[in-house]
């Protein structure tokens, strides 16, 4: 065994080790990429569907193909043909100029023929990005359901936005108030009075100890809704 403390040995060792590790990791990553991409796509489809209905992961592919139509719209309300909605990265789109943004929209048609419009969301939580999907009824004001996700919020606090209880309370709430002004408000803390729903249609309970994350959700919802406002005008007329 050569002198393990010599400079030449140290340098050679470091070089060879780096090469081996780099090759091994790159190899495994490339090998598993198809599986990972498929898993990621299935997860996204499940989340989109979960904004309107409950669906098991195994059935998500079929349900998505059957009930979801994808659209890409611009902030001025026009529809772009030929763009693939599913592959768009919303975070990147929001970094672009408003006139250049391509916004995906998912239209869900249930068995009875009723339509729901599912808007993808992208925002900032306390530690990292948050996102999700919010589904609107055909009046484009009442919420049919929501599903939120996050990258690194605190478990038990910010991470609660991804739980059934937080997401479930959005169903039936409205974005706009009686005078058609945007009014959806995520209240501070948990345990606020938000029933009866007719009286508190624009209010949603928050999470104790997760004010910044909840503010992030509120901002993300407003940003999302405003982005599609022009397009929604074209389909209500």
């Amino acid at each position: 065994m050569a002198n393990t403390n010599s400079n030449a040995y140290t340098f050679t060792y470091a070089t060879i080790m780096t090469l081996i590790v780099a090759l091994a990791l790159a190899g495994v990553s490339t090998l598993l990429k198809p599986l990972q991409d498929a898993a990621r796509a299935l997860d996204k489809k499940t989340q989109i569907l979960n904004a309107v209905t409950t669906v098991e992961k195994e059935a998500a592919d079929a349900a998505y193909a059957k009930s979801i139509k994808e659209l890409v719209v611009k902030e001025d309300g026009s529809v772009i043909d030929g763009a693939v909605a599913f592959d768009l990265d919303l975070r990147k789109e929001y970094k672009k100029d408003a006139s250049k943004r391509q916004l995906p929209l998912y239209v869900y048609t249930n068995d009875a023929g009723a339509k729901n419009y599912i808007i993808p969301l992208s925002g900032a939580g306390l530690w990292d990005a948050i996102g999700g999907f919010i589904a609107l009824e055909s009046d484009l004001n009442t919420i049919a359901g929501s599903s939120f996700n996050h990258v690194g919020e605190t478990p038990g606090l910010g991470a609660e936005i991804a739980t059934p209880w937080f997401q479930g309370q959005f169903k039936g709430r409205k974005f706009n108030d009686a005078s058609k002004k945007y009014a959806l408000d995520v209240l501070k803390g948990k345990g606020n009075k938000i029933e009866p729903i007719e009286q508190y249609a624009n209010k949603v309970d928050g999470i104790s100890g997760a004010t910044i994350t909840c503010d992030g959700v509120e901002n993300m919802l407003k940003k999302g809704y405003d982005s599609y406002a022009a397009y929604f005008k074209t389909i209500t007329n």
């Binding site: 091994a24 990791l25 990972q36 478990p155 038990g156």
Partner: protein, 224 residues
């Protein structure tokens, strides 16, 4: 003549795979040399992952595997690692193993990898793994090093699961997602303990475990 006879090394008997000494490598970290309560290593992830039992379980399995195989790898390499980049090599081995685990999880159990995405990175910085590499793997043979890795991983798992059970049952009223506090208790006024949901509760619980462990075994008092 006699000097050469004395200089001749005694013949070493090959130690059986699960000799008492090797078995102690597995059992000591469970109690007498527990990585969290005695060595006081790896406490940060013990606070972060224990709000519920399920993530604690998965994290435990990951740490057992990474610790055991990192120990094994470093022990196999121990005579060839250059002295000056010793810690860097250890870190590279740990990071490579954890990245492999992460890639495999993302391909086969995507939901789980999403949940654990932050914690996977925490394993790389988990002091238990680095600590055992330095304290044991660098100076011992591969099989004992492997056992030591498994033992310390299991010791870590024991504390993690214990804390997680308390935090989930008292903080959310569930165990592995199944509700176990009957509805009539809630109706009578029982409320889930909000502090248990926060990492501070894990700190309190670990402190209590340390206290309980040392009071039942006086040998461990003042050991760290």
């Amino acid at each position: 003549m006699s000097q050469t006879a004395e200089a001749k090394a005694p013949v070493q008997e090959k130690e059986p795979l699960f000799s008492p000494k090797n078995r102690r490598l597995l059992t000591d970290p469970l109690d007498e040399n527990n990585p969290i309560t005695i060595q006081v290593l790896g406490v940060c992830s013990a606070l972060a992952v224990t709000a519920q039992v399920y993530p604690a379980l998965v994290m435990s399995i990951c740490v057992v595997l990474v610790c055991a195989f990192a120990n094994l790898t470093i022990s196999l390499l121990r005579n060839s690692i250059p002295g000056r980049i010793r810690m860097i090599v250890q870190l590279v081995v740990i990071a490579a193993l954890v990245t492999l685990v992460n890639e495999v999880l993302a391909a086969f159990v995507y939901d789980l990898s999403k949940e654990l995405s932050v914690y996977i990175g925490l394993i790389i910085t988990n002091c238990i793994i680095m600590g055992r590499l330095e304290a044991f793997a660098m100076g011992n043979k591969p099989w004992p090093a492997f056992l030591d890795g498994v033992g310390n991983g299991l010791g870590y798992a024991a504390i993690l699961l214990l804390v997680a059970v308390f935090r989930e049952v008292f903080g959310a009223g569930t165990f592995l997602g199944f509700g176990i506090i009957p509805q009539f208790a809630y109706d009578m006024g029982y409320v889930n303990n909000g502090v248990m949901v926060t990492p501070a509760a894990a700190m309190f619980l670990i402190g209590i475990f340390i206290w309980w462990q040392r009071s039942r075994n006086p040998k461990l008092v003042d050991v760290s």
